[in-house]
């Protein structure tokens, strides 16, 4: 499905701010995999997502998505096959446009000069009612009026309205209150299972890293230091994960945020 082969990325090369964010990283993702990714801040998790989504080109290595070499394909073209959610719920939708208009744009059906049809509007409503947030009755309201949780749920709908080949979730519940985060996470699981999406999810919550999906990666200093799935993974506890992290990284875990989760 997704094959990342020996990619590297260095920011600000040749300056004092030089930072190698990805270091000869390789990753094979099978069709239908739901992979959770954990790692300290600055480990390169978001950089990996940016590289896969095409926010920048990698310095070396290749990225293949569903058999197609996308290494040098620009971001908006890759977006046809890749859905993405960010930590910031504001990033995924246009605040000045209505819910319906946002969904219409995300659905992207028809030609450039086509209008949204009545059938499509009904389909949008039906899909939004799955959220159970009452958004289907607010189709003509600007998205800017929604709360962060509602906006993130809407973004999730928009990113998956045309089931993408790959869904990238970059700490997409981290900015939400615990109850809303729970709800958005449950929705995520539901949608991913229903459409059998291949999904990568960055999280700082070790429990959900183990609960969700079928495989867990740990990143450190721009590389994957730990990759677990199947039997071995199902036996893992959060405490084991912490121990593993220390062993693999060969240094003391210094990220309070991870310890607390």
């Amino acid at each position: 499905m997704l094959s990342v082969s020996h990619i590297s990325k260095t920011f600000n090369p040749g300056t004092v701010n030089e930072k190698t964010a990805l270091h000869d990283l390789s990753l094979e993702v099978a069709d239908g995999d739901f992979i959770s990714i954990i790692g300290a801040n600055g480990a390169g998790k978001s950089t990996l997502f940016n590289a896969i989504a095409g926010s920048f080109f990698t310095d070396s290595g290749t990225i293949t998505l569903d058999g197609e070499d996308v290494t040098l394909q620009s971001e908006h073209l890759r977006a046809k096959n890749i859905g993405r959610l960010f930590q910031d719920p504001m990033r995924g939708s246009a605040p000045g446009m209505t819910i319906e208009e946002n969904l219409a744009l995300a659905a992207g059906r028809g030609g450039w000069l086509s209008h949204v049809t009545r059938a499509e509007k009904q389909a949008f409503r039906d899909r939004l009612s799955l959220l159970g947030m009452g958004l289907e009755d607010r189709m003509q309201q600007p998205v800017g009026l929604l709360s962060g949780g509602q906006r993130q749920a809407l973004t999730l709908m928009m990113a998956t309205i045309n089931p993408p080949k790959l869904l990238l979730l970059d700490e997409h519940t981290a900015a939400l209150d615990p109850a809303t985060a729970e709800k958005v996470l449950a929705l995520t699981r539901e949608i991913v299972e229903k459409d059998r999406l291949t999904c990568l999810m960055v999280t700082h919550n070790m429990q959900s890293a183990l609960d969700l999906g079928n495989r867990t990666l740990m990143m450190d200093q721009g590389n994957i230091i730990f990759d677990v799935r199947g039997e071995e993974r199902s036996r893992l506890q959060v405490s084991d994960l912490l121990v593993l992290f220390r062993e693999a990284a060969g240094r003391k875990l210094d990220n309070d945020r991870m310890l607390l989760s």
Binding site: R91, S93, A94, P95, G96, L105, G108, V116
Partner: protein, 300 residues
């Protein structure tokens, strides 16, 4: 007095096409297109030259085509050449000055007193109040066009580009493309506006578009007061009303002996008030608290 208001209505309607152009580029696309002045003159010059050559009907699409070209260059500079959008507009505006004189055959003034224009054609057909009717028709057509256009998938993408370019990209649309299309359409309207104004007053001079961007912005912001929210159609109509009101107020001010050269200062002041007003109003509680605090300290 009535004839003054008639002139104001005519100027307002013709100018409303430029206001609608800014409605598209400024309000929707989020680009302040400073090539507007030059593009307005370009439309006037191209329209006049074509009309002088004996093709009054052809003058309108010719002017719009020239506007599209100008918008295309402005958009290309800011999306593909790494030039800041404000600077891109200024550069194109400066360049257009030479282009416009070249279009007018090296002269800075063209006279169309005896030329057949779209206005004289209509007058010949016996339409009463022909200038206003034609201007009204143009404004109505453009409002309808924009309302329909901004509801299409392309139109939605243009609006989203001004709102959240990240989201446009994640909808598999290149924001550079939407910027190019938006600026081409907007500038074609600006050029049409210039073309109609020139033919209505039967002459073009190189300064016909001077300050047009500020005048149109002032009108747009006045129009926003009429339709602060609501659908695209309502806001577009608001923009047209804004343009008419601006010209009417200006005409009345002239009647009360305000010198004509004040037009541009008035438009500048309106833009300042319309943009700075809401900002200062929002900050007022903070400022007054700070003032009270300072006063309290002095008293103590």
């Amino acid at each position: 007095m009535l004839s003054i208001l008639e002139t104001a209505l005519e100027l307002g309607l013709i100018g409303s096409l430029t206001v609608l152009a800014l409605f598209l580029s400024y309000s929707m696309l989020g680009v302040c297109d400073l090539s507007t002045d030059g593009c307005f003159t370009l439309g006037a010059a191209v329209g006049a030259v074509v009309a002088l050559a004996g093709h009054p009907y052809l003058s309108l699409p010719a002017a719009m085509g020239a506007g599209v070209l100008s918008g295309f260059v402005t958009a290309l500079l800011q999306t593909k050449m790494g030039i800041d959008s404000l600077l891109a507009g200024i550069i194109v505006n400066t360049g257009l000055y030479s282009v416009n004189i070249a279009v007018m055959g090296g002269s800075s003034l063209l006279n169309m007193n005896k030329t057949q224009t779209v206005f004289t054609l209509l007058k010949g057909a016996g339409v009463g109040a022909y200038k206003i009717m034609l201007a009204l028709l143009a404004a109505a057509l453009v409002v309808v066009f924009l309302t329909l256009f901004l509801r299409t998938r392309l139109g939605l993408a243009i609006r989203a580009t001004g709102d959240n370019p990240d989201m446009v990209r994640s909808s598999s649309i290149n924001p550079a493309f939407t910027t190019v299309v938006g600026l081409c359409v907007a500038n074609s309207l600006t050029a049409l506006s210039g073309c109609l104004l020139a033919q209505s007053q039967k002459s073009v001079n190189i300064d016909i578009g001077g300050g047009m961007v500020t005048i149109a912005l002032a009108s747009l912001l006045i129009g926003r007061a009429f339709a602060p929210r609501g659908g695209i159609a309502l806001r577009a109509v608001g923009a047209v009303l804004g343009s008419i009101v601006f010209r009417a107020v200006y005409a009345v001010a002239l009647r009360f002996n305000m010198p004509a050269f004040m037009l541009k200062l008035v438009s500048s002041v309106i833009v300042i008030i319309a943009i700075a007003g809401p900002y200062l109003k929002a900050r007022y509680p903070e400022l007054s608290r700070r003032l009270a605090h300072r006063r309290g300290r002095e008293d103590a």
